[in-house]
């Protein structure tokens, strides 16, 4: 079996993976990182989204062997100890979480959004999150949380 070496949440890891594993299998079964969720398994729903070398990736579609030499960021890598990332904090304060299944993908995608558009317009937020489904349909609270995380005015939770 091939051995891949990569950095996951700033931690170097070395793990043996079957060739037919996807990146989410590496995270779940190889490393025990269960925060990333698998929804549709075919790239549509966005639940499994992680950052690979700073770019959004669907971990259900990416082959694990291709992660060799990359830097992967998952939901587990955002908080510093007990201090939440500002995006996570905004999601909590706005109650932008219902069942929570889409949340890791939403938060990671927001991370990429704010890296590209630090002060996003509503259109940019909606467009960026268009590939992340919330089947509880909690979209308006999610939008509020993203606006708040971006430091936009008038977005404090009620």
């Amino acid at each position: 079996m091939p051995i891949v070496e990569l950095t996951v949440n700033e931690r170097p890891v070395r793990v043996e993976v079957p060739v037919h594993w996807t990146l989410i299998q590496l995270l779940h079964d190889g490393l025990g990182l269960l925060g990333t969720k698998e929804g549709c398994g075919e790239g549509s729903c966005g639940a499994c989204t992680v950052l690979v070398d700073g770019r959004l990736a669907r971990s259900c579609l990416a082959l694990a062997v291709r992660a060799d030499g990359t830097r992967v960021l998952t939901i587990e890598g955002l908080a510093a100890g007990d201090t939440l990332d500002p995006i996570q904090d905004a999601f909590v304060r706005h109650g932008a979480i219902q069942c929570g299944f889409c949340t890791p993908g939403m938060v990671i995608t927001t991370k990429a959004l704010l890296a590209e558009h630090p002060r996003p317009t509503d259109h940019e937020i909606r467009e960026f999150l268009s590939g992340n489904f919330c089947r509880c349909a909690g979209y308006s609270l999610i939008l509020n949380a993203v606006r708040d995380a971006a430091g936009l005015q008038g977005t404090q939770p009620r």
């Binding site: 060739v19 966005g46 579609l61 062997v65 992340n132």
Partner: protein, 290 residues
Amino acid sequence: MILRPFEYVECRTVGDAVAALERGGGDARIIAGGTALVPLMKHQVLRPSLLVSIANVPGLADIDAAGEGGVRVGSVATHWAVSHSALVREQSPLLARACQRVASPAVRSMGTLGGNLCYGESASDPSPALLALRATLRLHGPAGERTVPITEFFTGFYETALAEAEILTAVDVPATPAGAHWRYLKWTPRAQEDKALVGLAAMLVLDGRRCRLARLGLGGVAASPSVLARAEQALEGRELDDATIARAADVAAAEVEPIEDLQGSAEYRRDMLRVWVRRVVSGLAAEGSR
């Protein structure tokens, strides 16, 4: 959903990849971004025994200026890279825009332009743009390199002109004519990230209201992406008044053979094509005569 086992080879040159494909016979597949191939494998529509990766072939993701105002895009450049390239935005903005409309951001940053074209899907976003721009594709196979105009690449429902063990290596996009007005219209019946029911790439060169050049590429409606050749002829050389535009829209609706699926009936696709040709051309004509 999990994948069934397969062999995997990471190639460093196009020649190695061609040789690996030949060794694998009909049971080998090229993989780059995997956004089209991996779901098909999970659903066991395809069960290749060998995946040949060209994602890390040096130079194959490059985007370079080519000739006077042209651009050469390497086949494994991602949709994200194409739509964010300053060169593509400057010289082929229609292509940049179409790549910006592919699926969703994560899929755009994984999936490649070459993979999109070789999948041969009708509802591709870049295909209509490259058809309107009359791009040329560079293919490498066991017998060497050949070029195919994109107008001859799509041969049927998920079928292309790629021969056995052939690999798309680059897309040559000719210069956008000076002063051209363009638009990529993606009509999705429900949501932003859906596939195009009508994907219309239009480019017009105008002299006042007179149309000097019309280029219309279409995706989503028929079995494969195509040029609306008769509608182009119905516009070129004419004053673009409402009657002429409406007639060209009727010609467009008559020259395609729409498919039918869960997204919409053939009749609906034909109607929507007529509507969007009229609206898009009217909009560009108004923009040009301002």
